[in-house]
C-alpha cells in the first residue's frame, strides 16, 4: 500500500502545483528522504493535521527559492510586483491545505469525512515522525528545478475498512 500512497501523493501534488500555482513539477529521480539546506538556506516546512477514518498529518518541505514564484503566481502578481513574507507563507499553507484536501479522498474514497486543521509553518526538524506516527507515504518532486518533499504520517496506520474496494490493497499491505 505504501507504493500506492506514494503514487497518489506524487500525482495529487503535481496536479495542485500546476492548477493552483501554474508551476510544473516532476518526480525526483532517485529520491531519498532528507531535503538538505542549500545555498538558499534551510527548507521551509509546513504541516497540516487531519482527523477522520484515519488520522495523521501531511508535511511538506521545500526550497525557500520556490516561495516568491509560488506566492506571485497564486496572487497573480505582476513581474515587478514583490510579495511579502506573510503572503509567501500564506501561499504555502494554502498549497498544503489544497493538497491534503484532495489527497485524503483519493486514499479513503469520497464517502470518507475528514476534518482538516489549519496548516502551520514549522521548524525544519518537524519533518521527522513523532513517536506515535507511522510513515504512510512520501514523495520527492522537482518543482521548477527546486526540491520539494512530502510525507504523509498516520497515527496507527490505515484500517483496512477505510480503503475503497478499488484501492488494490490486500491483507499484506496492512501497516
Amino acid at each position: 500500500m505504501r507504493e500506492r500512497i506514494n503514487h497518489i501523493l506524487s500525482r495529487v501534488t503535481e496536479e495542485i502545483f500546476e492548477k493552483l500555482a501554474f508551476m510544473f513539477s516532476f518526480p525526483e529521480e532517485g529520491f531519498e528522504a532528507e531535503i538538505e539546506s542549500s545555498a538558499a538556506g534551510p527548507p521551509v516546512v509546513t504541516e497540516v493535521f487531519f482527523k477522520g477514518p484515519f488520522s495523521g498529518r501531511l508535511v511538506m518541505s521545500l526550497s525557500p527559492r520556490l516561495l516568491p514564484e509560488l506566492a506571485g503566481n497564486m496572487l497573480g502578481a505582476d513581474d515587478n510586483e514583490t510579495t511579502t513574507p506573510d503572503q509567501r507563507y500564506d501561499a504555502l499553507k494554502e498549497l498544503i491545505n489544497v493538497i491534503c484536501g484532495n489527497l485524503l479522498p483519493e486514499i479513503a474514497g469520497k464517502q470518507a469525512i475528514f476534518n482538516v486543521d489549519t496548516p502551520k509553518i514549522i521548524d525544519p526538524d518537524g519533518t521527522a515522525p513523532a513517536a506515535d506516527e507511522t510513515l504512510l507515504g512520501e514523495t520527492g518532486l522537482l518543482v521548477e528545478d527546486e526540491k520539494c518533499e512530502l510525507r504523509l504520517y498516520g497515527i496507527g496506520g490505515i484500517p483496512d475498512r477505510v480503503l475503497p474496494p478499488d484501492s488494490g490493497a490486500d491483507a499484506s499491505d496492512a501497516f
Partner: protein, 132 residues
C-alpha cells in the same frame, strides 16, 4: 446589475485569488468585501448590502457551514446567493451544503468555473457581464 460580493476565507492568499478571479470573470461587479471567518462575514453582512457570498468551509472562530445556517435563519439575509469554494471531498458534506442552498466549487478552481457558477446561481445572462 452590479454584484456586491463578500469573500470569506481564512487564507488571505485565497481571498486575493478569488477576488482577482471575480475581477477577471467579466461579470459586472460592485464592491468586493473580504472577511477571514464566518463571524467576520456576518459582521460585514450586518453593515453592507451583499448579493453574493463566496466562502470556505474550514475556518477558525466560525466555519462556513455555521455561517450559512445563521444566514438562512435570518429573514433579511436568507435569500443571499452562497457559493462554497473548498477542498472538501466528502460527498455527504457537499450534499448537505447543497441542501442548504449553496453551490459548491472544488479547489483548485478555474476562473471559468467561478464565472459559470455565479451566472447560473444568480440567473445572470450575457447582458449582465461587465464591459471592461
Amino acid at each position: 446589475m452590479e454584484i456586491n460580493v463578500l469573500v470569506v476565507d481564512d487564507s488571505s492568499v485565497m481571498r486575493a485569488m478569488i477576488s482577482k478571479t471575480m475581477g477577471l470573470s467579466g461579470l459586472s461587479l460592485g464592491k468586493i468585501y473580504q472577511a477571514a471567518n464566518g463571524q467576520e462575514g456576518l459582521d460585514v453582512l450586518s453593515g453592507h448590502w451583499i448579493d453574493l457570498i463566496i466562502a470556505d468551509i474550514n475556518m477558525p472562530v466560525m466555519n462556513g457551514e455555521e455561517m450559512i445556517d445563521r444566514i438562512r435563519a435570518n429573514p433579511e439575509l436568507k435569500d443571499i446567493s452562497i457559493i462554497i469554494i473548498s477542498t472538501e471531498g466528502s460527498d455527504a458534506r457537499i450534499d448537505r451544503l447543497r441542501r442548504k442552498g449553496a453551490a459548491f466549487i472544488h479547489k483548485p478552481f478555474t476562473p471559468e468555473t467561478i464565472r459559470d457558477t455565479v451566472k447560473d446561481m444568480m440567473k445572470l445572462g450575457d447582458s449582465d457581464e461587465g464591459t471592461d
